[in-house]
Every structure is written in structure tokens, then in C-alpha cells.
């Protein structure tokens, strides 16, 4: 099993969620994060002083998936989250060794 971690622009969250739901992905966990990358922050003002905000709000999705659908899902996220503008984000795929569904104690792929 794999854990897909995708960092996307916040306003893309709804379309990605819908696209994934259509593909049958029924679970994911979302975290609000801040990103630092090629897309720079912006200057802000405060009582006459200008200062730099380095981080940009992003949303991070974590999705545990079965090995054989992983690539397909990564692609779907990429295409849905892409706006061709800088700061669109990244997708990381890493291995998971073990999964448990807390409610039932089920493990492995059926637990996803």
C-alpha cells in the first residue's frame, strides 16, 4: 500500500475531492499547511512598516491507497489540481507497511 501526500492550492480541494470520489476513493485526510517554494509570498503592511510573508497557504491531502491504483490516482490529482500557475504544489508517494481500521480492527487493503 502507498501513502499519497499531495500539497495543492486550497481552492482546488473541492474539485480534487470530487474527482477522487468519482474514481471511488472514499477516504482521505486533509491538513492546512503553509508552503514555501518558487511561488514567493507577498509583502504586507502594518502601521507603516512593510514586511515579507514567506509562506503561502496550501492544503495537504493524505490518501492511503492500494498499490495497483496508486498511479492512476496520482495522475488524477495532478491533472485536477493543475492550474498551470506557479505554486500548484507537489505529490509525494511513500510506502505504507500496515493499515488498521480503528472501528473494526481490520487490517491491510480492506482497511482502506
Amino acid at each position: 500500500m502507498k501513502l499519497i501526500t499531495a500539497i495543492i492550492k486550497p481552492h482546488k480541494l473541492d474539485s480534487v475531492r470530487e474527482a477522487l470520489a468519482e474514481k471511488g476513493v472514499v477516504g482521505m485526510t486533509v491538513t492546512e499547511v503553509k508552503g514555501y517554494g518558487r511561488q514567493k509570498g507577498h509583502a504586507e503592511l502594518y502601521r507603516g512598516a512593510e514586511y515579507q510573508i514567506h509562506f503561502v497557504p496550501k492544503v495537504q491531502l493524505q490518501i492511503g491507497v492500494d498499490d495497483n491504483v496508486c498511479d492512476e490516482i496520482v495522475e488524477l490529482i495532478q491533472s485536477t489540481a493543475c492550474s498551470n500557475a506557479i505554486g500548484d504544489g507537489k505529490i509525494f508517494v511513500s510506502p505504507i507497511e500496515h493499515v488498521v481500521r480503528i472501528r473494526t480492527g481490520e487490517t491491510g487493503e480492506t482497511a482502506l
Binding site: H11, E32, H42, E44, L45
Partner: protein, 412 residues
Amino acid sequence: MVSDLSYALDTFYFLVSGALVMWMAAGFAMLEAGLVRAKNTAEILTKNVVLFALSCVMFLLMGYSIMYPGENTGWIPNFGFGIGAENTAEAALSGAEDAPYYSMRSDFFFQVVFVATAMSIVSGAVAERMKLWTFLAFVIPMTAVIYPVQGYWHWGGGPLKELGFSDFAGSGVVHMCGAAAALAAVLQLGARKGKYNKNGSANAIPGCNLPLATLGTFILWMGWFGFNGGSELKVSDVGEANAVAQVFVNTNMAACGGAIAALLMSRAYFKKADLTMVLNGVLAGLVAITADPLSPSAEASVLIGAVGGALVFVSILMVDKFKVDDPVGAISVHGVVGIWGLIAVTFNNSEATLSAQLIGIAAIFGFVFVASSLVWFILDKTMGLRVSEEDEYDGVDISECGLEAYPEFSKR
């Protein structure tokens, strides 16, 4: 007869009422700041502070003299500047029938805070997408000319006064006037991104801070005692004191009626107590009674307010159907219910006629709508009405004010 003391008391009563109406500026600021998203909060706060300041200055320079020219010159008032001279003690104490019985300055103070109220109504309706500087540019003609001209028609002794149009404290002159300018703005401005789906359905865009919105509503409620109570213009004898007291009671009871009606509608439709509807119900009750808070009984005031509260519920749902995107519900609360208030005058006040009320509604609404549409049109062609899509997405706080309202709290 005017004595030193009655003059002093009426002036003081005016000043206290004016301070309460000024306080409504804070109410609008908090209400609107509570009903927009966090990313558009600093801009709407800025707008509310500056519109108040600009309104006061423009009304001082021109508006007051246009609105109160002292004579009926038909639909077009005399244009003038400044606020005239203060009453002398001699004139006040002359014993003449028409001796001034309160300070001219206190009258100006009371009037000037009304103008700002009308402007604040516009501010909410165009929230979250209009350019700040364009909005501020609109404040100038609105408070220097448009509002004063229609104000003159009725309160300044102009043609609507002559016709028998009756609007005690401004359901029409202030509230519907503001709503007409707001509607003109929203029609040219368009809806917020993401408000309406391709299939025509509307999305909810929840306000970020309901305690602020509730505070704003309470502030407005309190300020309204000045708004309506001061509009009796005199307190210094038994009859007038009784009248002012009646106005206070009716104003309060109408707000209560509005709240309860909106709550019950919400329960009937959704089985829930939608706080935002209850708040709009309070304001609707207040707007409804404003056209005549003196004639009805306290019980009738509850009903007038309750109809207002029910109406605002229906109106907000309807307005959304027409894709008129009004983030705070200003057009429904101040426009639709303002009209209801003006019509309700005829139920309790035997001197008011339905025809005069309808003419007044048409005249004020028509003039303000057309005049402000024109101004918005010109502003659109010159400064532009709307921030860029990207700025709207990031929030107008950053693009217009360069800062964030809640920089430390993370947002969804």
C-alpha cells in the same frame, strides 16, 4: 414657548440621539465584518471607517445645505454650501411662534450621522469584490448630492412633503435609498466568484465571525433608539415626551417581532434556528417601524416588525434566485422591508395615504437607482468596479489594504 432650559434639553436630546446614531456606524462595521470571509475583513472595516469620515465631510460641505434649503423649489433644490450660522440666543428666546428650539449644530450632527447610515448599507452589499477606491469615490456624489436631493424632497420640505408622503425617520429616505444605490451597484458589479453554480443554484458563503455580526446587530438596535427617538425632534413638553417614549417602545417591540418571526420561519423551513436569519429579522423589524414608530400601539409594532422579519426571510431566498449576490442581505433588509414600512404607515397613521406612499417610494427608489447606476457606470469605465479574479480569490484585504485582519489565526 422656548426657554433657555427647553432649548437646552431639546439640544441635548438631539446630541444624545446623534451620538447613538453615530454608534450605528460601529454596528454596521461589526455586522459586515462578521458576515464576510476572514480574507475580506480588513477591507470592509476600512471601508466602514472611511465612508463615515467622507460622508460627514461631504455633507458638511454641500449635502446639508442641499437637503435643507429652507424653501420648496420643486424637485430640484437650491444648491449651496456649508451649514449656516448657529441660532442666536435672542432668536431662540424671542417668543416667536417659529423661534428655533434647538441648536442648529445639533441638528447638523443628528443629520450627518444619518447620511453615513445610508452609505453603510451600500458597503455591505458590494462586499468581497469591489475595489475599495472605487467605492470611496462613489461616496462623494452619493453623500454630497444624491442622498441630499431626495432627502430634501421629503424632510427638506420639498415636493414629497407637499404630496403628503410620510416617512418619520427614514425607512425610505435613508434605508430604501441606501438599498437602491446598493442594488444599482450589485447589478453592475456581478456576483462573487463561486457564489452561483453553472446550474443556477447558489452556494452559501458563510460569514467568518458570528459573534461580531451579533454584536453589530445589538449596536444597531441600540443606535436605533437615537435614530427613531431623535426623529421626533423635540422632547420638551408632556406631549412630546410621551411621543418620544412611544417611539422608543415601538422601535424595541418591532425589533422583537422581527426576531421572533424570522426565528419561526427558520424553524418552519429548516427545523433549525438560523442565527443569521434572526439577526436579519431584528434589523428588518427596525427598518419596518422606522417609517412610523409613533402612531402604532406597542402591540401593532410587534406585528409590523414581525411582517418585516417574515418578509426578509422570503426576500433573501428570492434575491438569491435572481442571482443578485448581496453578502449581508442589505437589499432585502433595507430595501424590501423599507418599502413594507412605508406602506404600513397607512395602517395606523390616518394622515398617510397609500397613493402618496407609493409615489414617494417610486420617486426615491427611481431617482436613487438611476442616479447611482449612472455614477457606478462612470466609475466602471474609469476606475473599474471590480478587483481582479486573483485578488478576489486571495481576498481583498491583501490587494486593497495590504494587511490581514486576523494574521495569526489559521484559516480553512
